[in-house]
Structures are given as C-alpha cells and as structure tokens.
C-alpha cells in the first residue's frame, strides 16, 4: 500500500503528529536529533511490526508514556485502508485494520511493504554473516508473510534443540537420542525449506544486483554466492547426524541455516575484505535496490522507499547515480542538509523537536 497520511502518538520524541505524504517523493528536513529517522521508523513499524533500527519495542514508546500508537491511512488496490499498531512498553501490542483488531498481529504483514536505506547498510557488506542472512530473510517476508512463520519456526526449533543439548550435559542417553531425533527432523524440515527459499531468492536477486551495482559504480562484476554451513548435496539430516557428537559436547547446533553465509564478491574478490570503502558502499546500496526490484516484480507493487540520511555519506558521483537509479513510486527521504541534487520532492516536511511543519 501507499501511505497517504501518517499519525504518530507517543512514538519516540513525537507526542502527537500528523503528516501527509506525497504519492511520489517526500523529503523530511531537520537537524540531527530532531526526529527524522523516527518518522521513517514509524512507517516501517507498520510494515514489519518491528523497528528497522533493531531495538526492542519499549525504546519506541516516548519515555514516560504507557504506549505508542502508529497509524497510517492509505490505499491498496484502490480501496482505502487504515492500519494501526499499538505498542505498549511491555507485553503484546494490538494491530487494527480498518478499526478491527486482528486476531494475530502477523496477519498485518504484507499490507505495507518497505525498502529501507540507512547509513548502517554498509554493515551488510562489512559486517558478519548474520546481517546478510537477515537481509535475505527480510526480503523473503516482504515477498510472502508465510516466510515469517518459517523463520520463527526455525528459530524456535533451534532454541529447543540447543536447550536439549545443554540439558543432556553432553551425554547421549537413549531417551535424549530419540527426542533429539525428533528435533533434528523438525530442523531438517523447516531449515531446508528456509534455505531453499533463500537460494531461490538469491537467484532472482543476482541479476538485479549486477544491474544496480553497474549503475552506481560504473562497472564491476558482482557475485552473491550462498555458502551453506554443511555440504548441501548430502542434505541437512546427514550433516546433523555427522555433527551430533560435536553438538552435544559444545551444547550448540553447529550446522543449519543459522550458520550459513552469503559471500559477496566484486570482480572475483571477497567484498568484505578486499573492496574499497566506496565499492562497499555502492554494493550496500545495490543490495537494497535489488531487493526493491525483486519485491516489486514478484508482488506487483513497489515497496515504499525509506531513505534515511543516505546521501550525506555519498560522494557527488554516487549521490547523483543513486538519484538516477531510484525507482518510481512512493519515497520518503530524510536529510540534515540540502535536498540531494536531481531529486524532485513533491512535498517537503520540516521537523524540529518532534514537531512537523
């Protein structure tokens, strides 16, 4: 859906605010610490029911308030839609669609999709494999909410299996073995499904990634290769069996989708260790652009672009290239400086201490 109007109540440093967003580009201007990122975070919350800054919900509630409320009015398939999320400081929040509470909050996923660009994206390239796995899984959830259930299931099985390993104290009794067999089978079922979905996604992403990177950096061959933590032709079941003794001794699950890597390369060299800062930045942007393109293609609807302070980190050349490459559709861009050259905002909002004008 496209967001026409947004309300934030006791969200971050906003007490109560209403914002109208353009169908195309809205630019949010303000000095640092005034509430630019928080505004995007509010929109993002309605898409994923979590903060893209990766903080717990209670950080989102204005300090001293019992709960935050984020509401958006928009249009989806030419029907008007009002989505609203209540975020209490503790416990489970409520989600309402057209004023009707949803039985399961998860059912909101897919109503609003977003692509977030943030300065932290550099970590996608420079950081550890967890960030890259999360990137893939987030895109999968955008493509279909069923992937959220899959991801949660895999995490849950892993927690159960790891707990059992620790409870065993390293000793494999017959009783532990039969129960472990069952958790292994669960991990195989859900883990292999998750990996299959990641592999399929990566295949769709790769051409888009190459295209976006070429547009940003003017050339260079990008590769993104899935490196499973186990020999994939043998299957996860065999790998778990082979790893069982080690797993028991160390009290951790050493193979599985939670240990996999997505190796990024530029011109045949690992991007994490060999690429220049500028190349890494271009690759991070390209990952976001590629995700956006794939979600748009598969769902038939462009996600809302949220660009948080990304132009300040870019040199003139890359900044210009990014503006050129930005897909059409709704976008909200924040900046502490001037509006990036070439961008044509339909609306400009100024933010100061959680007040919009």
């Amino acid at each position: 859906m496209r967001v026409a109007r947004l309300w934030l109540t006791d969200f971050r440093n906003y007490t109560s605010v209403e914002a109208e967003l353009a169908a195309g580009l809205t630019v949010v201007v303000g000095r640092n610490g005034e509430g630019k990122t928080s505004l995007l975070e509010g929109i993002g919350y309605l898409a994923t029911l979590s903060s893209f800054r990766g903080v717990p919900n209670e950080a989102l509630v204005r300090s001293g308030a019992p709960r935050a409320v984020v509401r958006a009015e928009g249009e989806r398939e030419s029907r008007s839609l009002i989505v609203e999320a209540e975020i209490p400081t503790s416990g489970r929040g409520r989600v309402l669609v057209n004023h009707q509470p949803l039985r399961r909050s998860r059912d909101l996923l897919g109503a609003l999709r977003i692509t977030v660009f943030s300065p932290d994206d550099l970590e996608l390239v420079k950081g550890g494999p967890a960030g890259r796995r999360r990137y893939l899984d987030d895109v999968l959830v955008s493509l279909h909410p069923k992937h959220d259930a899959l991801r949660v299931d895999v995490e849950r099985v892993l927690r159960q299996r790891t707990t059992l390993l620790r409870q065993s104290g390293g000793r494999l009794t017959a009783e532990i073995a039969t129960t472990l067999d069952v958790w292994d089978a669960q991990l195989v079922e859900h883990g292999e499904a998750l990996v299959a979905a990641r592999l399929e996604l990566l295949q769709r992403l790769e051409p888009e990634l190459t295209k976006a990177y070429a547009g940003l950096a003017g050339g260079g061959q990008v590769s993104a290769r899935y490196e499973a933590s186990w020999p994939m032709d043998g299957g996860l079941a065999a790998a778990l069996a082979a790893s069982r003794a080690n797993d028991l001794r160390r009290g951790v699950t050493l193979v599985g989708p939670h240990r996999d890597e997505v190796a990024l390369g530029i011109d045949g060299l690992p991007a994490r260790t060999h690429a220049s800062q500028g190349e890494q930045r271009s690759l991070a942007l390209a990952l976001r652009l590629a995700a956006h393109a794939v979600v748009r293609e598969v769902t038939g609807e462009p996600p809302v672009l949220l660009l948080d302070d990304v132009f300040s980190e870019l040199d003139a050349g890359r900044s210009h290239a990014l503006v050129e490459l930005l897909p059409s559709g709704q976008a909200v861009l924040t900046t502490a400086g001037p509006v990036p050259e070439g961008a044509e905002p339909e609306r400009v909002l100024r933010v100061e201490s959680g007040v919009l004008s």
């Binding site: 949660v152 099985v157 927690r159 159960q160 707990t163 129960t179 089978a185 669960q186």
Partner: protein, 199 residues
Amino acid sequence: MYAGPVQDLIDELGRLPGVGPKSAQRIAFHLLKLPKDDALRLASVITEVKERISFCRRCFNVCEGEECELCLDTRRDPTLVCVVEEPRDIVAVEKTQEFKGRYHVLQGAISPIEGIGPEQLRVKELLARMDAEGIAEVILCTNPNIEGEATAMYLARLLKPLGVKVTRIASGLPVGGDLEYADELTLGRALEGRREVEA
C-alpha cells in the same frame, strides 16, 4: 512489597500461566476491592474443583470420579483414540461433532525450553492403553506449532512399530496456531482430512 497477605496473594497470582508481576498486582487489587461475597465465591470454587475434580485414570481428561464421561460412554468407539495436549482441546474437538472415539490427554507437549520431555507427559500411559484397549487407530491432535509437531512425530515413532494406524490432523489450521482457538469448521475439516504421519 506490600503487607503480608497482600504480597502473598500477588505472589500466588504471579505464578499462574500468562500472569506477569504487573498483572498479578492488578488482579490482587481488583480482588481487594471486590465485595466480600464475590471474592469468597471465587475462593470456594477453587477449593471445590480441587476437592471434587481430578484427572480421569484412563485418558487424563478432567473428571469427577475415577473415569470421565467420555471414557464411560459405551457408544464411543474404543478402538479409535484422539491424542491432545490439554483437556481444553477435547472441548474444541467435541464441538466439531466429527469424532466418535476416545481421547488421551498428554498434559502438555515436548518442550525442552519449558523443561518438558516425554517423561513429563502421559506417554507411557498412552502406550499402555494400546494393547489393553485394543486400539487400532491413533489420531494425533497436538497443536500445529513446533512443539505440537515434534510431539506428534515422537509419538508416531513409538506407536507405528506397535502396528497401530497413526494419523495426524490435516492442516487447515492456522500456521503457528493453537487448537483451542481454531474455529469448529476448520477443526472439523482438519479431522476429516487427517493424514498418516511420517515417522
């Protein structure tokens, strides 16, 4: 901290499932404000269930006396057993009016995180019923979540070698959902479309 009995009440309430410290406090103060008769009625029904109600010695459903009504009902097919996690799941299955066999309540599902292994469940008792009651088919009606699936798989692996038919309710249930919340229609369809489990 509050004075003696008030804090005791908060502590006891806080031990109930799904009740955190904040809710425990809220409920405690609600009870304090309640008219005396209302509060004592609550206390007396708690006493009464603890005195009169226990678990059926055959299926571990809640019952008055030794065996529950469902086990005593001679019109029900004794060769068909539906395995559920909790007594409340029996209520959910009964509402569908699709099932005419007997039940077995596990009193939970396998979950190492909660310290529940097969030994904490009524698994041995289920196995003992197979021969004793001539059970031909077991329908595994555990919740369609990770723990329910793991429990179903565990039971299937124990039961299949005994030569009984083992089926699992078909999905149609919301993913990650609890049986208790499934509406009657979905649950009824799920029972009709039950499938054999891989062991």
